[in-house]
C-alpha cells in the first residue's frame, strides 16, 4: 500500500470512528501494516483521530442552544403580518387584471363594430345598387397604387380618406347603381341636379381594391360628374 492510498483509507476510518461505528473504524490489515512502517502516515492517523474527536466536541457544543422560541414567534408573526398585507396587493392586482380585460373587450367590441360598419357600407354599395355587374380585374399600376387620385384623370373621382393601394394589388371595376346619399357618404361631392336628373339611383363604376374598399368612383351615364 502506498502512502497516498493509505491516507485515503485512514481518513475514512477516522471519520467512521466519530460515528461510533468502531468495527468499521478499525483500519484494515493492509493499512495497519502500512501504519506500522510509515511514521508520516502513522502521525496522520493520530491527527485524524484527534480531529474526529474535536469535531465531536464541536457538534455537541453546537447542539446546546437556548430556545429560539421568541425568534420563531416573531418570524411567524412577521409572516402573518406580510400575509395580511398581501390581500390588498392581490385585490389591486385583480383590479388591474379586470381593468385590462375590460379595456381589451371594449377595444375588440369597438373594432368589431367598426368592421361591421365598414362591411355594411361596402355591402350597401354593392347590394343597394339595382344591378351589380361582374367585376373586371386590373392590376394596380404604380400611379394607382401610390395615389388613388390618379384615377381622377379618367373622370374617376378619388374616394377621399381611403388607404393607398399596395404595389401589385389587383383592383376590380364594379358597376352598380348607388343612391346619391351613398355617394355622399363615400365623401364624393354630389351635385343636387344629378339627384333630380336620376330620380333615385345613379349608375356608377367603382375601382375596388382587394380589401373591398372603393378607391374611386365615376358615374357612367353622366359625364357632368
Amino acid at each position: 500500500m502506498t502512502c497516498r492510498e493509505g491516507i485515503v483509507e485512514l481518513v475514512e476510518c477516522a471519520r467512521r470512528a466519530g460515528t461510533g461505528a468502531r468495527i468499521h473504524a478499525e483500519p484494515g490489515r493492509e493499512l495497519r501494516a502500512h501504519l506500522a512502517v510509515c511514521a508520516h502516515c502513522s502521525e496522520r492517523w493520530e491527527a485524524e483521530l484527534q480531529l474526529t474527536a474535536q469535531f465531536g466536541v464541536m457538534r455537541a457544543s453546537a447542539a446546546v442552544r437556548e430556545s429560539p422560541d421568541s425568534r420563531r414567534r416573531a418570524l411567524l408573526q412577521e409572516f402573518s403580518h406580510r400575509q395580511a398585507r398581501m390581500p390588498i396587493q392581490t385585490s389591486r392586482a385583480w383590479v388591474w387584471t379586470l381593468g385590462t380585460a375590460a379595456a381589451l373587450v371594449f377595444a375588440v367590441f369597438v373594432g368589431h363594430e367598426a368592421g361591421r360598419k365598414a362591411a355594411r357600407t361596402s355591402a350597401s354599395i354593392q347590394t343597394r345598387g339595382a344591378r351589380v355587374e361582374p367585376a373586371v380585374l386590373y392590376e394596380a399600376d404604380a400611379a394607382l397604387s401610390s395615389d388613388a387620385s390618379a384615377l381622377s384623370s379618367d373622370d374617376f373621382v378619388a374616394v377621399p380618406y381611403t388607404p393607398p393601394l399596395a404595389p401589385g394589388e389587383m383592383v376590380r371595376i364594379v358597376r352598380a347603381d348607388l343612391y346619391p346619399e351613398t355617394l355622399a357618404s363615400m365623401g364624393v361631392r354630389v351635385d343636387p341636379s344629378w339627384v333630380a336628373a336620376w330620380a333615385a339611383d345613379l349608375p356608377v363604376e367603382m375601382v375596388v381594391g382587394e380589401d373591398g374598399i372603393p378607391r374611386a368612383v365615376r358615374i357612367t351615364e353622366n359625364n357632368q360628374f
Binding site: 491516507i7 485515503v8 481518513v11 471519520r15 466519530g18 460515528t19 502521525e43 496522520r44 491527527a47 485524524e48 484527534q50 480531529l51 474526529t52 474535536q54 469535531f55 466536541v57 464541536m58 457538534r59 457544543s61 453546537a62 447542539a63 442552544r65 429560539p68 425568534r71 420563531r72 418570524l75 411567524l76 412577521e78 409572516f79 402573518s80 406580510r82 400575509q83 398581501m86
Partner: protein
C-alpha cells in the same frame, strides 16, 4: 406522509402559515449550526438562520425548483449571509471583536477546539463548506454533493484536503513550543 420542502414552500407562498412553520422547524436548526460553524458566533448564527427565513418569505425570494432543492437554496442564502458578515468593513470591527470573544471554542472552554475552530473559519470556503456539512453535520457525500451542486468525487477530495489542512494545524498545536504562536 411528510410533505417535501418544495411542497411546503409552494403552500407557504400561498399564505399557509403552518407550512411556513413546518419548514422553519425542519430546516432552521441545521441552518443555525451551519452558520454557527461558518461564523463561530452563536449571535451571528441566530441572525443568519433568522434572516434566511425572512428572505424566504419576502417577495425577492426567487426559488426555482428546476435549479435545485429548497434545502440547497436555503444553505446558499445562509452561506452568502455569513460571507456578508465576514466582509464587514472596519467600522464594524467592535462587533467582530464581540464575535471573536464569543466564539464557539471559547464557549466550549477547550483551547484546542477553539484554535481548531478558528482554523476552520480561516480555511478556503470550498473546504470549510464540505467539512462542516460532512463532518459536523454528518451528512453523506451524496447529500453534500446535492447541496453544493458538485460531484461526489469533488466533495470527497475537498473533504480530504480540508482535513489534511486541519490535521496539520492540530499537529502544530500539539507541539508545545508552537502553541503560543498558533
Amino acid at each position: 406522509m411528510q410533505l417535501s420542502d418544495e411542497e411546503l414552500y409552494r403552500q407557504m407562498r400561498k399564505g399557509n402559515r403552518d407550512a411556513f412553520a413546518q419548514l422553519y422547524e425542519r430546516r432552521e436548526p441545521g441552518l443555525y449550526r451551519f452558520a454557527l460553524h461558518m461564523s463561530g458566533s452563536p449571535a451571528v448564527a441566530e441572525e443568519v438562520s433568522n434572516e434566511v427565513f425572512v428572505q424566504l418569505m419576502g417577495p425577492a425570494a426567487r426559488f426555482d425548483e428546476t435549479r435545485g432543492s429548497l434545502e440547497s437554496f436555503l444553505y446558499g442564502i445562509a452561506r452568502n449571509l455569513v460571507r456578508v458578515v465576514r466582509r464587514q468593513p472596519p467600522v464594524a470591527e467592535p462587533v467582530d471583536r464581540a464575535f471573536e470573544a464569543n466564539i464557539l471554542g471559547e464557549l466550549i472552554g477547550n483551547e484546542t477546539t477553539a484554535a481548531l475552530h478558528r482554523t476552520l473559519r480561516e480555511l478556503p470556503e470550498r473546504y470549510r463548506d464540505v467539512i462542516i456539512l460532512c463532518d459536523l453535520e454528518e451528512r453523506s457525500y451524496e447529500d453534500v454533493a446535492r447541496l453544493i451542486g458538485r460531484p461526489v468525487g469533488t466533495v470527497r477530495s475537498r473533504l480530504h484536503r480540508g482535513r489534511a489542512l486541519l490535521a496539520a494545524k492540530l499537529k502544530r498545536l500539539n507541539a508545545p513550543s508552537e502553541v503560543f504562536s498558533a
